[in-house]
Amino acid sequence: MAESDTLGDLNRRNFLIKVTSVVGGAGAVAACLPFVASMNPSSDVLAKATTEFDLSGMNPGDMRTVAWQGKPVFILRRTQEQIKEMEASDGGLDPEPDQKRAKQPEWLVVVGVCTHMGCVPNKEGPGWTCHCHGSQYDDSGRVTRGPAPKNLEVPPYRFIAADKIIIGEA
Protein backbone atom coordinates (compact mmCIF):
# COMPACT_ATOMS: atom_id res chain seq x y z
CA MET A 1 0.00 0.00 0.00
CA ALA A 2 1.31 3.47 -0.84
CA GLU A 3 1.64 6.11 1.85
CA SER A 4 -0.58 8.40 -0.16
CA ASP A 5 -3.52 6.08 0.58
CA THR A 6 -6.14 7.59 2.74
CA LEU A 7 -8.39 5.45 4.86
CA GLY A 8 -11.22 6.37 2.51
CA ASP A 9 -9.27 5.06 -0.47
CA LEU A 10 -8.53 1.84 1.32
CA ASN A 11 -12.16 1.33 2.30
CA ARG A 12 -13.30 2.03 -1.24
CA ARG A 13 -10.79 -0.43 -2.63
CA ASN A 14 -11.78 -3.16 -0.21
CA PHE A 15 -15.45 -2.56 -0.93
CA LEU A 16 -14.84 -2.75 -4.67
CA ILE A 17 -12.88 -5.97 -4.28
CA LYS A 18 -15.68 -7.43 -2.16
CA VAL A 19 -18.37 -6.45 -4.65
CA THR A 20 -16.37 -7.80 -7.57
CA SER A 21 -15.72 -11.06 -5.72
CA VAL A 22 -19.40 -11.51 -5.00
CA VAL A 23 -20.42 -10.74 -8.58
CA GLY A 24 -17.69 -12.99 -9.95
CA GLY A 25 -18.51 -15.76 -7.51
CA ALA A 26 -22.19 -15.62 -8.40
CA GLY A 27 -21.27 -15.93 -12.07
CA ALA A 28 -19.00 -18.88 -11.39
CA VAL A 29 -21.79 -20.67 -9.52
CA ALA A 30 -24.30 -19.86 -12.25
CA ALA A 31 -21.87 -21.23 -14.83
CA CYS A 32 -21.90 -24.59 -13.04
CA LEU A 33 -25.67 -24.93 -13.29
CA PRO A 34 -25.88 -26.04 -16.96
CA PHE A 35 -23.32 -28.75 -16.25
CA VAL A 36 -25.29 -30.09 -13.31
CA ALA A 37 -28.59 -29.75 -15.19
CA SER A 38 -27.21 -31.71 -18.14
CA MET A 39 -26.95 -34.75 -15.88
CA ASN A 40 -30.69 -34.70 -15.17
CA PRO A 41 -32.92 -36.87 -17.38
CA SER A 42 -33.04 -35.47 -20.92
CA SER A 43 -36.36 -34.58 -22.53
CA ASP A 44 -36.68 -37.91 -24.34
CA VAL A 45 -36.17 -39.79 -21.07
CA LEU A 46 -38.73 -37.57 -19.35
CA ALA A 47 -41.15 -38.33 -22.19
CA LYS A 48 -40.86 -41.97 -21.32
CA ALA A 49 -41.93 -40.86 -17.84
CA THR A 50 -45.46 -41.40 -19.09
CA THR A 51 -46.85 -44.36 -20.95
CA GLU A 52 -50.20 -44.49 -22.68
CA PHE A 53 -52.11 -47.73 -22.64
CA ASP A 54 -55.16 -48.78 -24.62
CA LEU A 55 -57.53 -50.81 -22.44
CA SER A 56 -59.80 -52.03 -25.21
CA GLY A 57 -59.19 -55.65 -26.10
CA MET A 58 -58.91 -56.71 -22.48
CA ASN A 59 -61.56 -59.07 -21.11
CA PRO A 60 -62.57 -59.34 -17.45
CA GLY A 61 -59.93 -61.43 -15.74
CA ASP A 62 -57.19 -60.43 -18.22
CA MET A 63 -53.88 -59.03 -17.07
CA ARG A 64 -51.37 -57.16 -19.17
CA THR A 65 -47.87 -55.95 -18.31
CA VAL A 66 -46.72 -52.63 -19.74
CA ALA A 67 -43.35 -50.83 -19.34
CA TRP A 68 -43.34 -47.48 -17.53
CA GLN A 69 -40.08 -45.70 -16.70
CA GLY A 70 -38.34 -48.99 -17.35
CA LYS A 71 -40.43 -50.86 -14.79
CA PRO A 72 -43.26 -53.37 -15.38
CA VAL A 73 -46.78 -52.19 -14.54
CA PHE A 74 -49.59 -54.75 -14.12
CA ILE A 75 -52.97 -53.80 -15.51
CA LEU A 76 -55.69 -56.14 -14.31
CA ARG A 77 -59.28 -56.02 -15.56
CA ARG A 78 -61.14 -57.48 -12.63
CA THR A 79 -64.29 -59.57 -12.75
CA GLN A 80 -67.28 -58.67 -10.57
CA GLU A 81 -66.40 -61.48 -8.13
CA GLN A 82 -62.85 -60.23 -7.79
CA ILE A 83 -64.07 -56.69 -7.16
CA LYS A 84 -66.55 -57.87 -4.50
CA GLU A 85 -63.90 -59.98 -2.79
CA MET A 86 -61.34 -57.17 -2.74
CA GLU A 87 -63.77 -54.56 -1.47
CA ALA A 88 -64.86 -56.89 1.33
CA SER A 89 -61.60 -56.62 3.23
CA ASP A 90 -58.74 -54.25 3.78
CA GLY A 91 -56.08 -56.76 2.85
CA GLY A 92 -53.39 -58.53 4.86
CA LEU A 93 -50.11 -57.21 6.20
CA ASP A 94 -50.50 -53.62 4.98
CA PRO A 95 -54.19 -52.76 5.38
CA GLU A 96 -55.60 -50.49 2.70
CA PRO A 97 -59.13 -50.33 1.33
CA ASP A 98 -59.48 -51.41 -2.28
CA GLN A 99 -61.32 -48.20 -3.18
CA LYS A 100 -58.19 -46.23 -2.46
CA ARG A 101 -56.14 -48.39 -4.79
CA ALA A 102 -58.34 -48.44 -7.88
CA LYS A 103 -59.80 -45.31 -9.53
CA GLN A 104 -62.36 -47.43 -11.29
CA PRO A 105 -63.06 -50.73 -9.49
CA GLU A 106 -62.88 -52.71 -12.73
CA TRP A 107 -59.30 -51.66 -13.42
CA LEU A 108 -56.27 -52.26 -11.18
CA VAL A 109 -52.98 -50.54 -12.09
CA VAL A 110 -49.98 -51.44 -9.93
CA VAL A 111 -46.22 -51.41 -10.34
CA GLY A 112 -45.11 -55.01 -10.79
CA VAL A 113 -42.09 -54.76 -8.50
CA CYS A 114 -42.13 -56.75 -5.24
CA THR A 115 -41.75 -54.39 -2.28
CA HIS A 116 -39.32 -56.82 -0.65
CA MET A 117 -36.23 -57.02 -2.89
CA GLY A 118 -37.52 -55.86 -6.25
CA CYS A 119 -38.28 -59.03 -8.21
CA VAL A 120 -41.23 -59.16 -10.60
CA PRO A 121 -44.08 -61.31 -9.19
CA ASN A 122 -45.98 -63.78 -11.37
CA LYS A 123 -49.76 -63.87 -11.86
CA GLU A 124 -50.88 -67.26 -10.59
CA GLY A 125 -54.55 -67.82 -9.89
CA PRO A 126 -55.80 -65.11 -7.57
CA GLY A 127 -53.30 -62.30 -7.12
CA TRP A 128 -49.55 -62.51 -7.62
CA THR A 129 -46.77 -64.62 -6.17
CA CYS A 130 -43.18 -63.51 -6.01
CA HIS A 131 -40.92 -66.53 -6.51
CA CYS A 132 -37.81 -64.91 -5.12
CA HIS A 133 -38.80 -65.20 -1.44
CA GLY A 134 -42.44 -66.31 -1.49
CA SER A 135 -44.34 -63.06 -0.99
CA GLN A 136 -47.99 -63.08 -2.07
CA TYR A 137 -50.33 -60.33 -3.20
CA ASP A 138 -54.11 -60.33 -3.74
CA ASP A 139 -56.11 -59.06 -6.70
CA SER A 140 -55.77 -55.57 -5.31
CA GLY A 141 -52.01 -55.81 -5.20
CA ARG A 142 -52.06 -55.90 -1.43
CA VAL A 143 -49.48 -58.06 0.34
CA THR A 144 -51.08 -61.05 2.02
CA ARG A 145 -47.93 -63.00 2.86
CA GLY A 146 -44.41 -61.69 3.47
CA PRO A 147 -41.48 -61.18 3.59
CA ALA A 148 -42.68 -58.18 1.51
CA PRO A 149 -43.63 -55.37 3.90
CA LYS A 150 -45.88 -53.17 1.77
CA ASN A 151 -48.54 -53.40 -0.91
CA LEU A 152 -47.59 -53.11 -4.58
CA GLU A 153 -47.16 -49.44 -5.44
CA VAL A 154 -50.02 -47.74 -7.26
CA PRO A 155 -48.38 -45.36 -9.79
CA PRO A 156 -49.92 -42.02 -10.70
CA TYR A 157 -52.30 -42.62 -13.59
CA ARG A 158 -55.52 -41.31 -15.01
CA PHE A 159 -58.12 -42.09 -17.63
CA ILE A 160 -57.70 -39.91 -20.70
CA ALA A 161 -60.58 -41.72 -22.41
CA ALA A 162 -63.03 -44.47 -21.46
CA ASP A 163 -60.58 -47.06 -22.73
CA LYS A 164 -57.24 -45.31 -22.43
CA ILE A 165 -55.07 -44.58 -19.46
CA ILE A 166 -51.86 -42.61 -19.13
CA ILE A 167 -49.45 -43.93 -16.51
CA GLY A 168 -47.13 -41.41 -14.91
CA GLU A 169 -49.59 -38.56 -14.78
CA ALA A 170 -52.22 -38.26 -12.05
Binding site: G24, P34, F35, S38, M39, S42, S43, D44
Partner: protein
Protein backbone atom coordinates in the same frame (compact mmCIF):
# COMPACT_ATOMS: atom_id res chain seq x y z
CA UNK B 1 -8.96 -22.45 13.41
CA UNK B 2 -8.05 -22.08 9.76
CA UNK B 3 -4.49 -21.15 10.74
CA UNK B 4 -4.19 -24.23 12.93
CA UNK B 5 -5.21 -26.49 10.06
CA UNK B 6 -2.79 -24.77 7.70
CA UNK B 7 0.01 -25.10 10.24
CA UNK B 8 -0.76 -28.82 10.61
CA UNK B 9 -0.56 -29.25 6.84
CA UNK B 10 2.61 -27.15 6.58
CA UNK B 11 4.40 -29.51 8.90
CA UNK B 12 3.68 -32.31 6.46
CA UNK B 13 3.45 -30.64 3.06
CA UNK B 14 4.99 -27.45 1.67
CA UNK B 15 1.60 -25.79 1.13
CA UNK B 16 2.23 -22.25 2.40
CA UNK B 17 5.77 -22.02 1.11
CA UNK B 18 4.71 -23.33 -2.31
CA UNK B 19 1.81 -20.90 -2.58
CA UNK B 20 3.97 -17.98 -1.44
CA UNK B 21 6.95 -18.88 -3.60
CA UNK B 22 5.28 -19.97 -6.81
CA UNK B 23 1.92 -18.25 -6.81
CA UNK B 24 1.23 -15.22 -4.68
CA UNK B 25 4.75 -13.99 -4.07
CA UNK B 26 6.16 -15.13 -7.39
CA UNK B 27 8.34 -12.33 -8.83
CA UNK B 28 7.04 -11.01 -12.12
CA UNK B 29 8.40 -8.17 -14.24
CA UNK B 30 6.29 -5.09 -13.62
CA UNK B 31 6.23 -4.06 -17.27
CA UNK B 32 4.42 -7.11 -18.66
CA UNK B 33 1.90 -6.05 -21.26
CA UNK B 34 -1.48 -7.63 -22.02
CA UNK B 35 0.25 -9.93 -24.52
CA UNK B 36 1.37 -11.84 -21.43
CA UNK B 37 -2.22 -12.69 -20.50
CA UNK B 38 -2.51 -15.41 -23.11
CA UNK B 39 -0.72 -18.17 -21.24
CA UNK B 40 -3.29 -17.95 -18.45
CA UNK B 41 -6.08 -17.79 -21.03
CA UNK B 42 -4.78 -20.96 -22.66
CA UNK B 43 -4.85 -22.74 -19.32
CA UNK B 44 -8.40 -21.51 -18.75
CA UNK B 45 -9.61 -22.72 -22.13
CA UNK B 46 -7.96 -26.08 -21.44
CA UNK B 47 -10.01 -26.43 -18.26
CA UNK B 48 -13.14 -25.33 -20.13
CA UNK B 49 -12.61 -27.95 -22.82
CA UNK B 50 -11.96 -30.70 -20.27
CA UNK B 51 -15.10 -29.78 -18.29
CA UNK B 52 -17.40 -29.50 -21.32
CA UNK B 53 -15.80 -32.57 -22.85
CA UNK B 54 -16.38 -34.77 -19.84
CA UNK B 55 -20.03 -33.73 -19.59
CA UNK B 56 -20.49 -34.28 -23.32
CA UNK B 57 -18.94 -37.72 -22.97
CA UNK B 58 -21.75 -38.60 -20.57
CA UNK B 59 -24.12 -38.53 -23.55
CA UNK B 60 -21.98 -39.19 -26.62
CA UNK B 61 -21.89 -42.62 -28.27
CA UNK B 62 -18.74 -43.56 -30.18
CA UNK B 63 -20.26 -45.94 -32.73
CA UNK B 64 -20.71 -45.16 -36.42
CA UNK B 65 -24.40 -46.04 -36.24
CA UNK B 66 -25.04 -43.93 -33.16
CA UNK B 67 -22.57 -41.03 -33.04
CA UNK B 68 -24.34 -38.51 -35.32
CA UNK B 69 -27.66 -39.28 -33.61
CA UNK B 70 -26.10 -38.94 -30.16
CA UNK B 71 -24.89 -35.44 -31.05
CA UNK B 72 -28.44 -34.54 -32.12
CA UNK B 73 -29.67 -36.05 -28.85
CA UNK B 74 -27.24 -33.77 -27.02
CA UNK B 75 -28.30 -30.75 -29.08
CA UNK B 76 -32.05 -31.33 -28.76
CA UNK B 77 -32.89 -33.45 -25.72
CA UNK B 78 -30.14 -33.13 -23.11
CA UNK B 79 -30.70 -30.22 -20.73
CA UNK B 80 -28.33 -27.47 -21.90
CA UNK B 81 -26.73 -30.05 -24.19
CA UNK B 82 -26.72 -27.47 -26.96
CA UNK B 83 -24.75 -25.15 -24.67
CA UNK B 84 -22.18 -27.83 -23.80
CA UNK B 85 -21.74 -28.71 -27.46
CA UNK B 86 -21.35 -25.14 -28.67
CA UNK B 87 -19.00 -24.31 -25.77
CA UNK B 88 -16.84 -27.25 -26.77
CA UNK B 89 -16.81 -26.55 -30.51
CA UNK B 90 -16.20 -22.82 -30.00
CA UNK B 91 -13.68 -23.64 -27.29
CA UNK B 92 -11.55 -25.57 -29.77
CA UNK B 93 -11.30 -22.50 -32.00
CA UNK B 94 -10.74 -20.28 -28.96
CA UNK B 95 -7.93 -22.57 -27.81
CA UNK B 96 -6.08 -22.29 -31.09
CA UNK B 97 -6.63 -18.54 -31.32
CA UNK B 98 -5.20 -18.04 -27.83
CA UNK B 99 -2.29 -20.38 -28.51
CA UNK B 100 -1.41 -18.73 -31.82
CA UNK B 101 -1.43 -15.30 -30.16
CA UNK B 102 0.65 -16.74 -27.30
CA UNK B 103 3.17 -18.11 -29.83
CA UNK B 104 3.18 -14.82 -31.75
CA UNK B 105 3.99 -12.97 -28.54
CA UNK B 106 6.85 -15.38 -27.87
CA UNK B 107 8.26 -14.93 -31.37
CA UNK B 108 7.89 -11.15 -31.37
CA UNK B 109 9.53 -10.59 -28.00
CA UNK B 110 12.18 -13.29 -28.47
CA UNK B 111 11.02 -15.21 -25.40
CA UNK B 112 12.17 -18.44 -27.05
CA UNK B 113 15.82 -17.43 -26.66
CA UNK B 114 18.23 -18.63 -23.97
CA UNK B 115 17.55 -19.51 -21.21
CA UNK B 116 13.95 -20.21 -22.29
CA UNK B 117 14.56 -22.83 -24.98
CA UNK B 118 12.94 -25.63 -22.97
CA UNK B 119 9.87 -23.49 -22.46
CA UNK B 120 9.63 -23.03 -26.21
CA UNK B 121 10.12 -26.73 -26.88
CA UNK B 122 7.65 -27.86 -24.23
CA UNK B 123 5.29 -25.37 -25.84
CA UNK B 124 6.02 -26.94 -29.22
CA UNK B 125 5.14 -30.33 -27.75
CA UNK B 126 1.96 -28.84 -26.37
CA UNK B 127 1.04 -27.52 -29.81
CA UNK B 128 1.50 -30.96 -31.35
CA UNK B 129 -0.60 -32.60 -28.63
CA UNK B 130 -3.28 -29.97 -29.14
CA UNK B 131 -3.33 -30.48 -32.90
CA UNK B 132 -3.64 -34.24 -32.45
CA UNK B 133 -6.43 -33.80 -29.92
CA UNK B 134 -8.34 -31.43 -32.19
CA UNK B 135 -7.91 -33.69 -35.21
CA UNK B 136 -9.22 -36.73 -33.35
CA UNK B 137 -12.05 -34.77 -31.77
CA UNK B 138 -13.21 -33.57 -35.17
CA UNK B 139 -13.95 -37.14 -36.28
CA UNK B 140 -16.32 -37.74 -33.37
CA UNK B 141 -19.46 -36.00 -34.74
CA UNK B 142 -19.18 -38.35 -37.74
CA UNK B 143 -20.30 -35.72 -40.23
CA UNK B 144 -19.25 -35.57 -43.86
CA UNK B 145 -16.33 -33.28 -43.13
CA UNK B 146 -15.31 -35.36 -40.09
CA UNK B 147 -15.15 -38.52 -42.13
CA UNK B 148 -13.47 -37.13 -45.23
CA UNK B 149 -11.06 -34.93 -43.29
CA UNK B 150 -9.95 -37.98 -41.31
CA UNK B 151 -9.71 -40.01 -44.50
CA UNK B 152 -7.48 -37.45 -46.20
CA UNK B 153 -5.19 -36.90 -43.23
CA UNK B 154 -4.80 -40.58 -42.27
CA UNK B 155 -4.02 -41.22 -45.95
CA UNK B 156 -1.00 -38.96 -45.59
CA UNK B 157 0.72 -41.52 -43.43
CA UNK B 158 1.08 -43.53 -46.61
CA UNK B 159 4.13 -41.33 -47.11
CA UNK B 160 5.98 -43.36 -44.47
CA UNK B 161 8.82 -45.10 -46.30
CA UNK B 162 8.42 -48.84 -46.99
CA UNK B 163 5.59 -49.50 -44.50
CA UNK B 164 3.28 -46.63 -45.46
CA UNK B 165 0.30 -48.79 -46.39
CA UNK B 166 0.50 -50.83 -43.18
CA UNK B 167 0.84 -47.71 -41.05
CA UNK B 168 -2.37 -46.27 -42.47
CA UNK B 169 -4.28 -49.49 -41.85
CA UNK B 170 -2.81 -49.77 -38.37
CA UNK B 171 -3.79 -46.20 -37.58
CA UNK B 172 -7.35 -46.71 -38.77
CA UNK B 173 -7.79 -50.24 -37.49
CA UNK B 174 -9.52 -50.94 -40.80
CA UNK B 175 -8.97 -50.44 -44.51
CA UNK B 176 -11.03 -47.26 -44.37
CA UNK B 177 -11.95 -44.83 -41.64
CA UNK B 178 -14.66 -46.77 -39.82
CA UNK B 179 -16.00 -47.87 -36.48
CA UNK B 180 -12.60 -49.00 -35.25
CA UNK B 181 -11.15 -45.60 -36.05
CA UNK B 182 -13.99 -43.75 -34.37
CA UNK B 183 -13.77 -45.74 -31.15
CA UNK B 184 -10.03 -45.38 -30.78
CA UNK B 185 -10.11 -41.67 -31.66
CA UNK B 186 -12.67 -41.20 -28.90
CA UNK B 187 -10.53 -43.06 -26.39
CA UNK B 188 -7.44 -41.06 -27.34
CA UNK B 189 -9.32 -37.74 -27.57
CA UNK B 190 -10.39 -38.30 -23.95
CA UNK B 191 -6.82 -39.17 -22.94
CA UNK B 192 -4.74 -36.53 -24.69
CA UNK B 193 -6.00 -33.48 -22.74
CA UNK B 194 -4.63 -35.07 -19.59
CA UNK B 195 -1.27 -35.52 -21.33
CA UNK B 196 -1.59 -31.84 -22.22
CA UNK B 197 -2.16 -31.01 -18.54
CA UNK B 198 1.01 -32.92 -17.68
CA UNK B 199 2.95 -31.08 -20.35
CA UNK B 200 1.57 -27.76 -19.06
CA UNK B 201 3.02 -28.62 -15.64
CA UNK B 202 6.41 -29.20 -17.28
CA UNK B 203 5.98 -25.90 -19.15
CA UNK B 204 5.21 -24.06 -15.88
CA UNK B 205 8.09 -25.65 -13.99
CA UNK B 206 10.40 -24.46 -16.75
CA UNK B 207 8.82 -21.01 -16.52
CA UNK B 208 9.33 -20.79 -12.79
CA UNK B 209 12.99 -21.73 -13.24
CA UNK B 210 13.83 -18.99 -15.71
CA UNK B 211 11.00 -16.58 -14.87
CA UNK B 212 8.96 -14.56 -17.35
CA UNK B 213 10.57 -12.51 -20.03
CA UNK B 214 9.20 -9.02 -20.56
CA UNK B 215 8.49 -6.61 -23.43
CA UNK B 216 11.97 -5.05 -23.31
CA UNK B 217 13.61 -8.44 -23.64
CA UNK B 218 16.16 -7.47 -21.02
CA UNK B 219 16.27 -9.26 -17.67
CA UNK B 220 15.07 -6.73 -15.15
CA UNK B 221 16.73 -6.10 -11.82
CA UNK B 222 15.11 -7.63 -8.79
CA UNK B 223 13.63 -4.29 -7.73
CA UNK B 224 11.60 -4.18 -10.94
CA UNK B 225 9.77 -7.37 -10.14
CA UNK B 226 6.49 -7.29 -8.34
CA UNK B 227 4.58 -10.13 -6.65
CA UNK B 228 2.20 -12.02 -8.92
CA UNK B 229 -0.63 -11.50 -6.45
CA UNK B 230 -2.47 -9.13 -6.48
CA UNK B 231 -1.10 -7.40 -9.56
CA UNK B 232 -1.20 -10.12 -12.14
CA UNK B 233 -4.00 -12.15 -10.64
CA UNK B 234 -6.33 -9.19 -11.15
CA UNK B 235 -4.84 -8.39 -14.54
CA UNK B 236 -5.35 -11.98 -15.68
CA UNK B 237 -8.93 -11.93 -14.40
CA UNK B 238 -9.64 -8.70 -16.26
CA UNK B 239 -8.16 -10.19 -19.43
CA UNK B 240 -10.32 -13.26 -18.83
CA UNK B 241 -13.39 -11.00 -18.71
CA UNK B 242 -12.59 -9.54 -22.12
CA UNK B 243 -11.89 -13.00 -23.52
CA UNK B 244 -15.16 -14.38 -22.16
CA UNK B 245 -17.15 -11.58 -23.81
CA UNK B 246 -15.70 -12.48 -27.21
CA UNK B 247 -15.99 -16.22 -26.54
CA UNK B 248 -19.61 -16.00 -25.36
CA UNK B 249 -20.54 -13.82 -28.34
CA UNK B 250 -19.59 -16.75 -30.51
CA UNK B 251 -21.10 -19.43 -28.28
CA UNK B 252 -24.49 -17.72 -27.97
CA UNK B 253 -24.82 -15.81 -31.25
CA UNK B 254 -22.48 -17.24 -33.88
CA UNK B 255 -21.82 -20.88 -32.95
CA UNK B 256 -22.80 -22.29 -36.33
CA UNK B 257 -20.30 -20.03 -38.09
CA UNK B 258 -17.52 -22.27 -36.78
CA UNK B 259 -19.17 -25.52 -37.89
CA UNK B 260 -18.85 -26.47 -41.55
CA UNK B 261 -22.32 -26.96 -43.11
CA UNK B 262 -21.17 -30.27 -44.57
CA UNK B 263 -20.65 -31.57 -41.06
CA UNK B 264 -24.37 -31.35 -40.46
CA UNK B 265 -24.75 -34.20 -42.96
CA UNK B 266 -24.08 -37.72 -41.65
CA UNK B 267 -20.86 -39.25 -43.00
CA UNK B 268 -21.33 -40.99 -46.34
CA UNK B 269 -18.33 -43.09 -47.44
CA UNK B 270 -19.76 -43.21 -50.97
CA UNK B 271 -19.96 -39.46 -51.58
CA UNK B 272 -17.17 -36.93 -51.09
CA UNK B 273 -18.24 -33.34 -50.47
CA UNK B 274 -17.27 -30.88 -53.22
CA UNK B 275 -14.99 -29.00 -50.97
CA UNK B 276 -13.00 -30.70 -48.19
CA UNK B 277 -11.60 -28.12 -45.83
CA UNK B 278 -10.20 -28.44 -42.31
CA UNK B 279 -11.03 -26.14 -39.43
CA UNK B 280 -9.51 -22.65 -39.76
CA UNK B 281 -6.64 -23.35 -37.38
CA UNK B 282 -5.21 -26.01 -39.69
CA UNK B 283 -5.61 -24.02 -42.91
CA UNK B 284 -2.06 -22.63 -43.31
CA UNK B 285 -0.51 -26.08 -42.85
CA UNK B 286 -3.10 -27.58 -45.19
CA UNK B 287 -2.14 -25.00 -47.81
CA UNK B 288 1.53 -25.93 -47.46
CA UNK B 289 0.60 -29.59 -47.85
CA UNK B 290 -1.24 -28.88 -51.10
CA UNK B 291 1.51 -26.63 -52.43
CA UNK B 292 3.91 -29.49 -53.06
CA UNK B 293 2.80 -31.56 -56.09
CA UNK B 294 4.50 -34.68 -54.71
CA UNK B 295 2.57 -36.54 -51.98
CA UNK B 296 5.57 -37.45 -49.81
CA UNK B 297 7.01 -33.99 -50.39
CA UNK B 298 3.75 -32.40 -49.29
CA UNK B 299 3.65 -34.42 -46.08
CA UNK B 300 7.28 -33.63 -45.32
CA UNK B 301 6.70 -29.93 -46.00
CA UNK B 302 3.63 -29.85 -43.77
CA UNK B 303 5.40 -31.65 -40.95
CA UNK B 304 8.42 -29.44 -41.28
CA UNK B 305 6.26 -26.30 -41.29
CA UNK B 306 5.01 -27.14 -37.81
CA UNK B 307 8.40 -28.27 -36.55
CA UNK B 308 10.34 -25.30 -37.93
CA UNK B 309 9.36 -23.21 -34.95
CA UNK B 310 11.41 -25.48 -32.72
CA UNK B 311 14.63 -24.33 -34.39
CA UNK B 312 14.12 -20.66 -33.58
CA UNK B 313 16.51 -20.59 -30.60
CA UNK B 314 19.29 -21.77 -32.93
CA UNK B 315 18.27 -19.83 -36.02
CA UNK B 316 18.14 -16.46 -34.27
CA UNK B 317 21.80 -15.57 -33.96
CA UNK B 318 21.51 -11.97 -32.89
CA UNK B 319 23.04 -10.94 -29.59
CA UNK B 320 20.60 -8.07 -29.28
CA UNK B 321 18.42 -9.15 -26.37
CA UNK B 322 14.72 -9.72 -26.61
CA UNK B 323 12.84 -9.65 -29.86
CA UNK B 324 11.40 -6.95 -32.04
CA UNK B 325 11.67 -4.20 -29.45
CA UNK B 326 15.12 -3.01 -30.52
CA UNK B 327 15.36 -4.86 -33.85
CA UNK B 328 13.48 -3.11 -36.67
CA UNK B 329 14.42 -5.70 -39.31
CA UNK B 330 13.22 -8.56 -37.13
CA UNK B 331 10.00 -6.65 -36.57
CA UNK B 332 9.38 -6.32 -40.30
CA UNK B 333 10.17 -10.01 -40.75
CA UNK B 334 7.67 -10.86 -38.05
CA UNK B 335 4.84 -8.87 -39.62
CA UNK B 336 5.60 -10.29 -43.05
CA UNK B 337 5.51 -13.78 -41.55
CA UNK B 338 2.07 -13.06 -40.04
CA UNK B 339 0.86 -11.80 -43.41
CA UNK B 340 2.22 -14.94 -45.03
CA UNK B 341 0.30 -17.10 -42.54
CA UNK B 342 -2.92 -15.24 -43.39
CA UNK B 343 -2.30 -15.70 -47.11
CA UNK B 344 -1.62 -19.40 -46.59
CA UNK B 345 -4.77 -19.69 -44.51
CA UNK B 346 -6.85 -18.15 -47.26
CA UNK B 347 -5.24 -20.38 -49.90
CA UNK B 348 -5.96 -23.39 -47.72
CA UNK B 349 -9.62 -22.43 -47.54
CA UNK B 350 -10.54 -21.73 -51.14
CA UNK B 351 -10.91 -24.54 -53.69
CA UNK B 352 -7.60 -24.92 -55.54
CA UNK B 353 -7.24 -23.19 -58.87
CA UNK B 354 -4.03 -22.90 -60.88
CA UNK B 355 -3.73 -19.30 -59.69
CA UNK B 356 -4.27 -20.09 -56.05
CA UNK B 357 -1.85 -23.01 -56.16
CA UNK B 358 0.84 -20.71 -57.52
CA UNK B 359 0.21 -18.13 -54.82
CA UNK B 360 0.26 -20.94 -52.26
CA UNK B 361 3.61 -22.15 -53.52
CA UNK B 362 5.10 -18.68 -53.34
CA UNK B 363 3.70 -18.26 -49.84
CA UNK B 364 5.16 -21.65 -48.82
CA UNK B 365 8.56 -20.60 -50.12
CA UNK B 366 8.28 -17.35 -48.15
CA UNK B 367 7.30 -19.35 -45.09
CA UNK B 368 10.35 -21.57 -45.12
CA UNK B 369 12.46 -18.75 -46.49
CA UNK B 370 11.78 -16.64 -43.41
CA UNK B 371 13.15 -19.37 -41.21
CA UNK B 372 16.17 -20.17 -43.33
CA UNK B 373 17.11 -16.52 -43.75
CA UNK B 374 16.91 -15.63 -40.04
CA UNK B 375 20.48 -16.72 -39.21
CA UNK B 376 21.91 -14.41 -41.86
CA UNK B 377 19.53 -11.51 -41.40
CA UNK B 378 19.82 -11.58 -37.62
CA UNK B 379 23.62 -11.48 -37.71
CA UNK B 380 23.67 -8.72 -40.32
CA UNK B 381 21.11 -6.73 -38.37
CA UNK B 382 23.13 -7.12 -35.19
CA UNK B 383 26.20 -5.72 -36.88
CA UNK B 384 24.21 -2.80 -38.28
CA UNK B 385 22.55 -2.03 -34.96
CA UNK B 386 25.80 -2.10 -33.00
CA UNK B 387 27.39 0.24 -35.54
CA UNK B 388 24.36 2.54 -35.31
CA UNK B 389 24.49 2.46 -31.53
CA UNK B 390 22.10 0.90 -29.07
CA UNK B 391 20.39 2.24 -25.95
CA UNK B 392 22.86 2.10 -23.02
CA UNK B 393 21.10 -0.59 -20.98
CA UNK B 394 21.03 -2.86 -24.01
CA UNK B 395 24.78 -2.40 -24.48
CA UNK B 396 25.35 -3.12 -20.80
CA UNK B 397 23.37 -6.35 -21.07
CA UNK B 398 25.26 -7.52 -24.15
CA UNK B 399 28.51 -6.88 -22.33
CA UNK B 400 27.38 -8.77 -19.23
CA UNK B 401 26.13 -11.63 -21.39
CA UNK B 402 29.55 -11.92 -23.01
CA UNK B 403 31.12 -11.97 -19.54
CA UNK B 404 28.72 -14.68 -18.44
CA UNK B 405 29.52 -16.84 -21.43
CA UNK B 406 33.23 -16.71 -20.66
CA UNK B 407 32.56 -17.92 -17.11
CA UNK B 408 31.43 -21.42 -16.12
CA UNK B 409 27.83 -22.18 -17.08
CA UNK B 410 26.28 -20.93 -13.84
CA UNK B 411 23.02 -19.05 -14.30
CA UNK B 412 22.41 -16.07 -12.02
CA UNK B 413 19.24 -16.43 -10.08
CA UNK B 414 17.11 -13.41 -9.58
CA UNK B 415 16.55 -12.59 -5.93
CA UNK B 416 13.11 -13.31 -4.79
CA UNK B 417 10.77 -10.73 -3.40
CA UNK B 418 10.54 -11.12 0.38
Amino acid sequence: MKNRIIKWIDQRFPLTSFVKHELTGYPTPRNLSYWWNFGFLAGFVLMLQVATGIFLAMHYKADVALSFDSIQHIMRDVNYGWLLRFMHSTGASAFFLVIYIHMARTLYYGSYRAPRELMWWSGQGLLLLLMATAFMGYLLPWGQMSFWGATVITNLFRATPFIGEQVVIWLRGDYTVGDATLTRFFALHYLFPFLIIGAVVVHLVALHTVKSSNPSGIDLAAKDNIPFHPYFTIKDLYGLGIFLIVYCSFVFFLPNSLIEPANNIPANPMVTPNHIVPEWYFLPFYAILRSVPNMVGGVVAMGLSVMMFAFMPFLDRSCIPGGAQYRPVFRVQFYLFLLDMLVLGYIGYIPPTSQSILIGQVATLCYFGSFFLIPFISKAEERWLIKRGLPPDVEALIASEAREKSKLPQRRRREDIA
